[in-house]
């Protein structure tokens, strides 16, 4: 336990001192501001640039438009930033050889993986909450949030999707020992999940559901229970990636 705490502390120190935490917080803070502000300003901007005589009737933006921005930006740009920040989580240790000292001191390899996993989840959670809190603040300041259903649940499932991505990045890093492998595996898996989504009966099991149908929750078109299968699959996949990464790592030459 002591070695777990020591190594996790080291992971946080690393994220802070190599400015990765700063990048995460800044980007997600910006997203947090952007989502409601874009929703608010889009009609005004459109009006300004509209040529003389052309009339488009745009309804006044609502809280739903703000959340639509949130659930568009985070699954795309947000997850992308997450992958960029964490793709070197394992790979950097391999390529720099920094683990040799640590492992010959008797740190178990599973602790390495679990420490990195917990740190990444915590940093992702903190950035995500920051983004959500800022978006929420602006949204209720501009509009009424009464028309929005299941907001917290929709936010939770997207968070869970982020955790899956982190486990994939770690798994890829252990498997290929470099950051390209980590990114490639994550990218390929996401593409495969989107391809699977073409088959309608599989959609409800697909982890992609957690990052693509959030607005349907907010409008009440879908209910939380519609997400149960996907949540179970996503959690199982995340755990599998982490559990399988350990024996693979044990066999890796460093």
């Amino acid at each position: 336990m002591k070695s777990y705490i020591a190594f996790t502390t080291k992971e946080f120190t690393e994220q802070l001192r190599t400015h990765k935490a700063l990048i995460m917080f800044t980007v997600f803070l910006l997203f947090g501001i952007m989502n409601p502000v874009t929703a608010k300003l889009t009609p005004i901007i459109l009006e300004m640039f509209m040529p003389e005589g052309v009339e488009i009737t745009l309804g006044d933006p609502t809280a739903l438009d703000s959340w639509a921005q949130f659930f568009k930006n985070i699954p795309q740009m947000g997850i992308f930033v997450l992958a960029i920040v964490f793709n070197g989580l394992m790979a950097n240790e391999f390529t720099k050889g920094t683990l040799i000292n640590i492992l010959t001191k008797g740190l178990s390899r599973s602790t390495v993986i679990l420490s990195k996993f917990s740190m990444a989840i915590l940093l992702w959670t903190a950035s995500y909450i920051l983004c959500f809190a800022v978006s929420y603040g602006y949204t209720i300041y501009f509009w009424s949030n009464d028309i929005v259903y299941n907001l917290l649940f929709a936010v939770f499932v997207l968070w869970l999707f982020g955790v899956l991505i982190i486990s994939l990045l770690l798994f890829g890093g252990v498997l290929f020992k470099n950051s390209y492998g980590s990114l490639l595996l994550t990218g390929t898996t996401v593409v495969i999940m989107f391809l699977i989504n073409i088959v309608p009966i599989l959609q409800k099991y697909n982890p992609v559901l957690l990052s693509s149908s959030n607005m349907d929750l907010l409008t009440g078109k879908m209910q939380p229970s519609d997400f149960t299968a996907s949540i179970i699959v996503t959690t199982a996949l995340t755990m599998t990636f982490i559990v399988v990464a350990i024996p693979i790592f044990n066999k890796k030459r460093i």
């Binding site: 002591k2 080291k10 690393e14 050889g97 000292n101 001191k105 390899r109």
Partner: protein
């Protein structure tokens, strides 16, 4: 008692057999020099001892306990200094030692005392900055400090001096001599003067096998030299000597020096007697007549040739 025992280990990378049926042991409280050319398999052997590489066959024990590939318990007895030690560049030496101490399960107080002691032993007390700005030599010293942190019974250093300047080398060797008595040191190198300076036992690794092993005096005695050096003050005397010695049946080969000559002989004692009598008969007075001491370098060249 032997602290490290290696029995008949072999290791191949693909078709390339790096270690071939290698056996040796390291007695307690010695400084053991592990010599070999670049690529001879020194690092491979050390990594197998640490359980970082899997041996194809054979058995390794540390303090009687077998080494297992992957997670090996025997590493708690070992301090390891890799050839190029890599640290987290954003940490300071003290933070790094704290991390190492926490991982090995030392308590905070011991870590504090031990790391202060080691940091001053390796001369890093004034370097309280992040490791990212360290020179190679400073990293090497920190490497020794981290390797000695948990008071290991066996310290394994992989070419600790190869990349350092003469001053840095001397300092590292001095540190290694200091820990002798408390810790058994195994260090690999291809710098033979380092070995002669501090080691009391050596093993020479050549094409995956042990070409030579034992204490330094033993080895030198076994490979007693056969060469006689004769030097003169003026060239004429040398020419004259060369003329009279030419054709002597005891001389195997002749090597010329600036104002002297090296005679490789079949029998050093007889040859020396003959040379002395020839010198006096011809009234030649050499500046120097010497039986060449076998150097580790000569032995090494002989073995690896």
């Amino acid at each position: 008692m032997n602290i490290l025992n290696i029995e008949k280990i072999s290791k191949s990378f693909g078709k390339n057999k790096v270690i071939n049926d290698l056996s040796f042991s390291v007695p307690e409280n010695s400084i053991f020099g592990f010599i070999g050319q670049n690529g001879a398999g020194k690092t491979t052997t050390m990594k197998m001892v640490l359980g970082l590489l899997k041996a194809d066959s054979g058995k390794i024990t540390v303090l009687g306990e077998p080494v297992v590939y992957g997670q090996t318990k025997t590493n708690k007895y070992i301090g390891y200094l890799p050839d190029v030690p890599e640290f987290y560049s954003y940490m300071t030496p003290k933070e790094y030692l704290k991390l190492c101490g926490d991982i090995t399960g030392m308590d905070d107080k011991t870590i504090k005392i031990k790391s202060d002691e080691l940091i001053s032993l390796v001369g890093l007390d004034k370097a309280n900055k992040r490791i990212g700005g360290f020179s190679r030599g400073m990293k090497q010293r920190l490497g020794i400090a981290q390797a000695l942190l948990n008071e290991p019974q066996l310290l394994i250093c992989d070419e600790p001096t190869s990349a350092l300047d003469p001053k840095g080398r001397k300092e590292i060797l001095d540190i290694l001599s200091t820990v002798k008595g408390k810790t058994t040191v195994v260090f690999s190198t291809h710098i033979l003067s380092d070995v002669e300076r501090i080691c009391d036992r050596v093993a020479v690794l050549h094409s995956g096998k042990l070409a030579l092993a034992g204490t330094l005096p033993e080895i030198k005695a076994q490979h007693k030299n056969d060469s006689l050096i004769v030097e003169f003050a003026v060239l004429e005397e040398l020419e004259c000597f060369k003329a009279i010695i030419n054709g002597c049946s005891l001389i195997k080969a002749v090597e010329e020096l600036n104002k002297g000559i090296i005679l490789h002989t079949y029998n050093i004692l007889e040859a020396e007697a003959v040379v002395l009598s020839l010198l006096s008969k011809n009234n030649l007075l050499p500046l120097k007549l010497e039986v060449a001491e076998p150097t580790l370098e000569n032995l090494f060249m002989e073995i690896t040739a």
